[in-house]
């Protein structure tokens, strides 16, 4: 094999990637009654995808990724309320503003250790939470921004109102998710994407082959913030509601959990993790509502002790490792 073949092989589409994309699109057609749940899953998947870019690919830990999710959420809600109700324009504005916030706050994660990054990101999210709480003339404070009227979703097939069953919402979310996935896939297979992995594995060496480490971290943090903002905007637009909850610590923790369940550093972990997490939540809550956290805990312990690889390959369970 030559280097050219090897490099092409790295970027080749795998069969399961196609299967996943087909399954995502098909889910809209075959599960019309579950559109609301599927919409939630897709939003969480997109949020986790954005975290994977900084955590999985660049090795930047964050306990405050909800800062960008929430910022995108409020940006989209306020834009719809104060400027215009078009979802596409609102989405672009939310993405741009979240990216800006990401670029500004990225300077905080350039230095220090993982522990300082955890604290700094946590701090930024708490700060935004309190700002949204205090600026009640703009954000509605603790009441949030309820009942945002969204305009119809303009598409080449005509305009679609957001319906109560969530079919339009899910189609919209799915579209944004797949676009972000496609962009993310391009990104991680590019020289830039590999340079992120290089600086995650060894910053000293990354600099020693001539890579400007800091500017790359700023770039990827900005991109991740933009995508997290898109996920937040989707939530506000499809639910017609934005509240302080979007900045809450449990969101940052949850998205981290989702990514750990799905696996980091291969781009699709967020999607698999979100599916498993939300379905688990749905099943366990229906069965025993008050003990959801207990069963989630059991699941996590088993996942970590047994290992994701072994857990997802039952045929290896009775083989000696």
């Amino acid at each position: 094999m030559t280097a050219a073949d090897g490099l092409k092989r790295n970027a080749r589409w795998r069969w399961w990637e196609f299967a996943l994309l087909v399954a995502l699109v098909l889910s809209w057609f075959v599960l019309p009654g579950q559109a609301l749940l599927l919409n939630e899953i897709a939003i969480l998947a997109l949020f986790a995808l954005s975290l994977d870019l900084i955590l999985g690919y660049s090795g930047v830990v964050s306990l405050g990724h909800a800062a960008f999710f929430g910022f995108g959420s409020y940006a989209a809600a306020l834009f719809a309320k104060l400027v215009m109700p078009d979802p596409w324009v609102g989405m672009l504005v939310a993405i741009a503003l979240s990216a800006l916030l990401g670029a500004v706050t990225s300077v905080l994660i350039l230095r220090g250790t993982d522990l300082t990054r955890l604290m700094v990101t946590l701090g930024v999210a708490s700060l935004l939470y309190e700002l949204a709480n205090k600026l009640d003339w703009l954000t509605g404070g603790a009441d949030g921004l309820p009942g945002i009227a969204m305009g119809p979703l303009v598409t080449p097939f005509g305009g679609f109102e957001f319906d109560i069953g969530g079919r339009t919402a899910y189609a919209y979310t799915l579209f944004v998710l797949i676009v972000c996935l496609a962009v993310g896939r391009r990104l991680v297979h590019s020289p830039f994407g590999y340079s992120l992995q290089a600086l995650r594995d060894n910053r000293l060496r990354a600099a020693s082959i001539g890579l400007a480490v800091n500017i790359r971290l700023v770039a990827v943090y900005t991109i991740a913030a933009a995508i997290a903002g898109a996920a937040g905007a989707l939530l506000a637009q499809t639910s017609g509601f934005a509240s302080l909850d979007v900045f809450d610590f449990h969101r940052s923790a949850e998205v981290l959990l989702v990514l750990v369940i799905g696996g980091t550093g291969y781009l699709y972990g967020g999607i698999f993790g979100a599916i498993v997490f939300k379905l688990l939540h749905d099943v366990v809550s229906a069965w025993t509502p008050q003990y959801w956290n207990f069963w989630l805990g059991v699941f996590l312990v088993v996942l970590v002790l047994v290992g994701r690889d072994r857990l997802t390959k039952p045929w290896t369970w009775w083989k000696r490792s």
Binding site: A4, A11, H189, P191, F192, Y194, A198, G210, L211
Partner: protein
Amino acid sequence: MTTVLETRGLVKRFGGITATSDVSIAIEKGARRALIGPNGAGKTTLINLLTGVLEPSAGTIRLDGEDITTLAPHQRVRRGMVRTFQINQLFGELTPLQSLALSVSAQLGISARWWRGLGSDPRVAPQCDTLLQQFHLDDVMNQQVKHLAYGKRRLLEIATALACRPRVLLLDEPVAGVPEGERQEIFDIVNALPADVSVLLIEHDMDLVFNFANSVTVLVNGAVFAEGDVQTISNDPRVKAVYLGESTEERAHG
């Protein structure tokens, strides 16, 4: 001969300890210079100063007459000053092929491209092929670096530096831990570098130094102790006393 790399009065203090003391050296274009000295003489500190990992307390570093004392490490690499590490510094999750392709891309100035694939530039793959074959890494080029045997990782360490197309190459004990039989091979590849590439070699093995280098700088206690061609240095009684003598003594004890 033109001077490529030059330091003037380079000093590095760590608190009360002076690790590098008033070092002025000049390396000519195409030189094969060895840097030797007993343990703790400040050889690695000097390399770290040259590459920008450490900031000097005083003194200047010039590359092609241009002052690079305050430049960041990656900027020095782009100007052609490339190093290898005494302890492997590799990208564990990547494969040798990906590591080299990224290094070559960085050298070509296309490592920030984010829309096209890693191997999409036609100049990248041929350079990777050459390096993979030279360093016998072609059979493992698609395995993750963290799973490679030590010997292979050592070869990749050197190959990664060469992928950056150095004009000044700083080799920090390149054959540390490499089996006897494979050492000469590494030096053959380094020797085969274009004649205008300057090499500064840190090495403990005197046979290798005297085989490879055409001039030697001896560092003792952070300062330049002696400098000259291989013949002069190997016959210098003072050098024998502080360094060669010491190591014979060590061998006798060991």
